[in-house]
Amino acid sequence: MNLGLPASLLGSALIGFLVIWCVLGPTRVWQCFLLTGSLALGLGLGLSSALFFVWLCLFGAPSAAFPVAELALVLLLLGIALYARKVRHRRPAPVSEAQTIEIAKHPMLYLTLWLSVGCGAMAFLLWSATGPHGEWDAWMTWNMHARAIFRGGDHWRDVLTGLPEWSHPDYPLLVPASVARMWTYMGGETALAPVSVGMLFTIATVGILYASLSILRSRTQGAVAALLLLGTLSFIRFGASRYADVPLSFFFLATLVLFCLHEAWPAAGTCPLLLAGLTAGLSAWTKNEGLLFLLALTAGRGWVVVRAQGWRAWLGEARTFAMGLAPILLMIVYFKARLAPPNDLMSDQGFRETAARLLDVTRYLEVLRSFHKALFQFGDNGLVGLGWLLFTYFICLGLTGKASASRGAKTAAIAVCLMMAGYAAVLLIAPAPRLATNLRSVERILLHLWPATIFAYCLLVRTPEETTDPSQRMSHA
């Protein structure tokens, strides 16, 4: 049995875990293990793919020495973590407000959650067996790039940049570099590598959604959110298809969760923002849409913080966030400047062409029609669409009165709305051949934002405990 795959997975998870340990400290890591574990899975894959890319740029080819270098890094991080533990003042992490709330008993909810996890896992495995190379976009873009890197050897740059335009060689490399890194560990190609990447990101997205809401609101609310996500057919489907949409949605969600935790854990200082900078940067390393997310997040967070606490507070936050973001952003700038050809959506954007597209009313109608259709059909399981379900659930439970939940939700809600507007704008100015293709994939665009939308929604809606516990209701009654 080739131990390369488990070794590479363990290596990336350890990198993620140790980075979180170094930033947040051991107490919080162990206290919120599901949250930090889920975050470590995604963060670790992202950081190890970045490391692999840096290795390729410095040393020229994927080689057997890379795992040794990564092991050295893990040992270094472990040393830093142990040293930090020694010198860190042992401040007991404050128990979050949500943990003091008595958890209402909803055995059916938890039973359904476990059933959903089981069904989701089974469906994922069946689909992975059905298409070992993933679906169209997965093998045409992401697997193709992974092969270009791995098979290219010393010539990986020439092979990657030599790929025809339809393979989008300008797309960022988080997923391909992760897969090529695993193949480097194994010394050969296997479909298990892209399957593992897809599966880990799918699991981590559900895990971080459940765990973060369990901390910020209540466990029942976390279970409701997880059920909504696992019940979204396209989430498991696209995860198993090995598209980069689920990894992207993971990084969007993780960034927004870390901003909320920054508010919920005042004792942690600005540490969660450092991690938020990393995850936001890794979203841009996953897909070009991540760059739009950086703009939307900066605007959304700026609006919320400046209105509530003033410019100074926002600048303080922005500084720490930028420290986490900077290394990943520098790497993306290098990739875009030195390796990536111009993006096909953006290359044909002269003033005259763009103005003509913006003045074309039929384009607005086409974009509106596709968004309208996708929004109403999104998550439709034959019984009900998710839009109607969320609306009815909101009518039943109502809005929470918790100020902290509202602030975190505001940031997430504004970022999601700005992203939607940004996506629509990109579609409006897309060259004609690309417009038709992109309009067909609006469902995937919505999926990028779906876990973050559920997160914001569950922060805003009252928990079942708040609805039935009079003491919980007093604050807003």
Binding site: M108, W127, T467
Partner: protein
């Protein structure tokens, strides 16, 4: 202070019940689709089949080469319009790190035909056959003008 109302409890139960019902229906449908897709699978999948088809050619081609690509000019009966492009993509995917360009202006040209016996004379005009690797896979050289 308001006392907990009967209505609040009922509304909460309806809300949570809807979520549970939604999740159960979705999960049944999810599993159903996955099982259906697996049952409809032809063995082996098309990409694996292509990899096997091009295995020999891959060994013949110089690594990191750029080659041209020719295929049947006409689509087969009942074939979708996107199918020829898909066949080209699969060829590129199978032959990496060799770059396959969709033209015949390279010194070496890969032929991907439906049948070895039915080479399309129109698309291979001016090309010299170097190797016939069977199964419709061929390697041509551009003839000097």
């Amino acid at each position: 202070m308001r006392r907990m109302g009967f209505n609040d409890m009922v509304r909460m139960r309806i809300g949570v019940g809807l979520i549970i019902l939604f999740a159960l229906v979705s999960n049944m449908r999810l599993l159903g689709r996955a099982v259906h897709d697996l049952a409809a699978l032809t063995q082996p999948d098309e990409i694996t089949e292509y990899e096997a088809r091009f295995k020999q050619l891959k060994q013949v081609l110089p690594p990191h080469a750029r080659v041209g690509y020719v295929t049947d000019a006409r689509r087969q009966d009942g074939e979708s319009r996107s199918r020829p492009f898909m066949r080209y993509l699969l060829t590129q995917y199978a032959l990496l790190p060799v770059i396959v360009l969709r033209d015949s202006h390279q010194p070496l040209i890969v032929g991907n035909f439906y049948s070895a016996n039915g080479i399309d004379g129109e698309t291979t005009r001016g090309l010299t056959l170097i190797r016939d690797l069977g199964n419709g896979v061929m390697l041509f050289r551009a003839s000097p003008e």
